[in-house]
């Protein structure tokens, strides 16, 4: 199934080749959870602080239990702030 992954700030270096504007289309197995995606992409787990599904925050529990659906966007940031 096709999904989109976006990685920002210090996680940018984990983007695979072919990524543009910090986003990349991925083909992942049905039932993949965000936590599995983080493992598969070899992202440092502790740096995956903000995990958004279609812009909505996923709690650490939801990352483990809610499979990603076809066409969804997962966007991930390390701890950041500004203002």
């Amino acid at each position: 199934m096709n999904i989109e992954l976006k990685l920002y700030a210090s996680l940018s270096s984990y983007l695979p080749p072919g990524a543009k504007h910090h986003r990349v289309a991925l083909d992942v197995a049905e039932g993949t959870t965000p936590a599995q995606l983080i493992d598969d992409m070899k992202l440092p787990k502790e740096a995956c602080f903000l995990v958004l599904r279609n812009g909505v925050y996923l709690t650490p529990d939801e990352r483990e239990t809610r499979p990603i659906k076809e066409g969804e966007t997962i966007a991930i940031w390390p701890p950041i702030a500004g203002g």
Partner: protein, 615 residues
Amino acid sequence: MAWAKKILRVNLTDGTCKNEPLNMDWADKYLGQRGLATKYFVEEVDPKVDPLSPKNKLIMTTGPLTGTCASTAGRYSVVTKGALTGAIACSNSGGFFGNEMKNAGYDMIIFEGKAKKPVYLFIDNDDVQLLDAGKIWGTSVWDTEDWIKEHHQDPMIRVASIGVSGEKGVKFACVVNDYHRAAGRSGVGTVMGSKNLKAVALRGTKGVQVKDYKSFMKAVDAGKAVLSGNAVTGEGLPAYGTQVLMNVINETGALPTRNHQTVQFEGAHAISAEAMAEPRKSDGKPNLVRNAACFACTIACGRISTIDRTHFTVAERPQYQVASGGLEYEAAWALGAATGVDDLDALTFANFICNEQGYDPISFGATVGAAMELYETGVIDKKATGGIELKFGNAKALTDLAEQCGKGEGFGAEIGLGSKLLCEKYGHPELSMSVKSQEFPAYDSRGIQGMGLAYATSNRGACHLRGYTVASEILGIPEKTDPLVADGKAGLVKAFQDATAAFDSAGICIFTSFAWSLEDVAPQIDAACEGGWSVDKLLEVGERVWNLERQFNNAAGFTAKDDNLPARLVKDAAKVGPAKGLTNQLDKMLPEYYELRGWTPDGVPTNETLNRLSL
């Protein structure tokens, strides 16, 4: 200790300067900077005063920690009645001016009246002089700073000044120090200009002392360790700066775009922190040169940037082909997403001009966005704009207006009215995205519900720095809350507002609060100052300051009706993103907020509340 315990009072009408002891009873109740200067201000100034009349006063103020080695302890604020808002104004700046003022021996400088001709105040410790500013009136902030250092043959002087925009009455002019640090909002620079005061130039070599050095160094070291060990203040902010927010806020559907017509900007990635770090085609160098710190700051979030030398804005103008203060998130949003411009170099150039000419990029960009909507809907045309094709996304229109606004010329002078007066002038007040006449910063309150309440109740008009619930609602600091619901936000907003007022009264930067709670701050203040400064005492100061500001605004004529948001945010639902279908639920949050504050349903502090806070 920590306080210099001395005030300088400058009467510009009479040309007199005299010292006064600091009122230490008030210092015990209001701590310093924002709180203490506001106390002085409300005691001395009629709330109904015209902000631009000589009867308005302007206070430059430090906090007790300013000038010490506590992390970020170089802050100062400018307190006055805002030219843009007509409300209490308090604009905070970093750089190196605040610490120099404290080292010269002053907690604050109170300016009264109006000089007969342009002057600048020169301070070399106890030597204080009002000097003729004839040679620098009409010049930029950058030229003013250079001229003063050359004229006094002292490169170590620190300068805070206004640009031509402040002289010409642009409503959102700033006071700028150290070339690109600004007391930015509410038109404090406009008030300074109305007093014919061009600049304040300082040398201070007296030093700053604290009460108990041993405890102080221990508390300060502990505080610094918390900042360096925290992923946000120790890694994120120094590496990416505030601009790292651009993609996050866009992704969460809370990036106000094209005058808040929508909440996501397709060009966000091109104007983000990530884009600032990418090598450009012409010379292989990125926009970002390096990060930089304000005085004593161990975070160092500041951006130093350059513009692509081949870019249309600077190709023929080598004076702008240098490194200077780069884009912060709020500025990048206003100059970019609010106007639909996704040209990073154009935004950086406009930002340079805002610094050089001394006006607020948030209000400027947001007002250009409003003018673009007026233009695209046919309300104004090229005749009104002086030939500028004022369409959303037009980078050249943005940079041309930036230069015009800086000089108070052409249609730029109309932009200088701010969005409220501009939109009223053309018969569409509903298009001004503002509260109490001050433009919103970079968060759409349909997608971050708490910010709607924070904006509506901010004592200086729409502002992110009076109660930054974005930290909790989006960034998970200190705890994650749901940005799309209104429940619980009244308490959250109040807690952020009170704590922020305490931070702002201490002399430190609010960015420390991404890692510090008042538990980290209290020991530093307590070791520096007499008075037994606990977390509870600081929170009480914060709440007291908030209510004091509110009382001033109420007396100035503001009512609960002014704790409001534009119809676009409470009637027109967001069209895309997570907040699709949502409006801001201000009507749900506001009554609860008044109750939590101990205010009447009309937004007036009850006698009981006033007594509880010793007001």
